[in-house]
Symmetry: C2
Subunit: 200 residues, 2 copies
């Protein structure tokens, strides 16, 4: 059985969202599964000395233009959120809590959260919004609210981010295929060929 | 007559080199010319607060891997230079000096300089190396040496870099097609479709 693809992403990352719409289909074409791993770019950037794209001189204005254009180029529905970027801590914690119980539903939640932020432009930084979005999948509001305050869930999320950093993850999306790292939704074409050929 | 594509690049940029191997062919397919514009990322990074890729935590080691992999993916001959990055001031000045006299030959010189650095791994930061490489095209060593010390050539180069910055150029390669900016050799596929469709 071939190894799954590790797919690291931040819930506030447009390029992560674009990749999330493609990665499972791409992997399935090659008989692979995908291991979804939300990270927190805010934490990652403290290590790398980087900053959110929109805050960068010249690159910031370009980036927003590129988000919209690249989403259209790749056939992905996208609306630039008016509040951007936002904290994705609550979303990541909800994901890891649900994943321990039901892996498949955690992935559904991730898709729903991404769609809420990048299509419906709901600010998913708030606990209320995350709970509402999870409610669409039948997740109990009471249980999720408790989980988001649970020190074990917080620790688990932090450990996942630390583990990603230790592995070299510095951006979103970041995909690892049989040990080979690929950064950016513009590397999906290389991932595709890597899976087909086993590298080059 | 449609507008030429403006192609900004740094002589020390691997992604700029990769794009340089493709851009004229891509443009010709759509009946366009390409206006080659060397810039100096060292100057650009002072404005943007960025730094050369290899110096960045985590992103640095990834990048060198990605240079090699992306060159192979795109079918471009490439050897990572042992000294990297290097100053590209002499190369840029040589280009702009030659361009004022013979535009076509300046583009030939640019290709030859890129090939010297990224295939033959000649450190093109030195005046001697730039003069040698230009000599392959029959450029007079004496005239070029004088030009590289000419205040007018220095001022011209600086004005080109300032003009690029004023236009928003923050990296290499950076292409402008009918006013639309594209950053990175991984945007050539978007440039291709943009030229075919006039945007989307």
């Amino acid at each position: 059985m071939p190894e799954p693809i590790d797919f690291y992403f931040d819930f506030s990352s447009p390029y992560g969202y674009i990749a999330s719409c493609k990665i499972d289909g791409l992997a399935a074409k090659h008989g692979r599964k995908v291991n979804w791993r939300p990270v927190l770019l805010g934490v990652v950037f403290k290590t790398t000395g980087s900053a959110p794209l929109p805050t960068l001189p010249l690159k910031g204005p370009y980036s927003v233009r590129d988000f919209v254009r690249t989403a259209k180029f790749m056939g992905v529905e996208f609306r630039q959120p008016p509040v951007f970027p936002v904290s994705s801590v609550a979303a990541a914690r909800a994901f890891y809590w649900l994943e321990e119980r039901e892996e498949a539903r955690a992935k559904e939640l991730a898709r729903e959260l991404y769609r809420a932020y990048f299509v419906q432009n709901i600010d998913i930084s708030g606990v209320d919004e995350v709970v509402n979005v999870a409610g669409r999948l039948g997740v109990s509001a009471e249980e999720l609210r408790a989980a988001l305050n649970d020190p074990a869930v917080k620790a688990r999320t932090r450990a996942e981010v630390d583990g990603a950093l230790a592995r070299g993850v510095f951006g979103s999306p970041y995909m690892v295929v049989d040990g080979e790292p690929f950064w950016g939704c513009d590397r999906l074409d290389q991932v595709d060929r890597w899976l087909a050929t086993g590298g080059w």
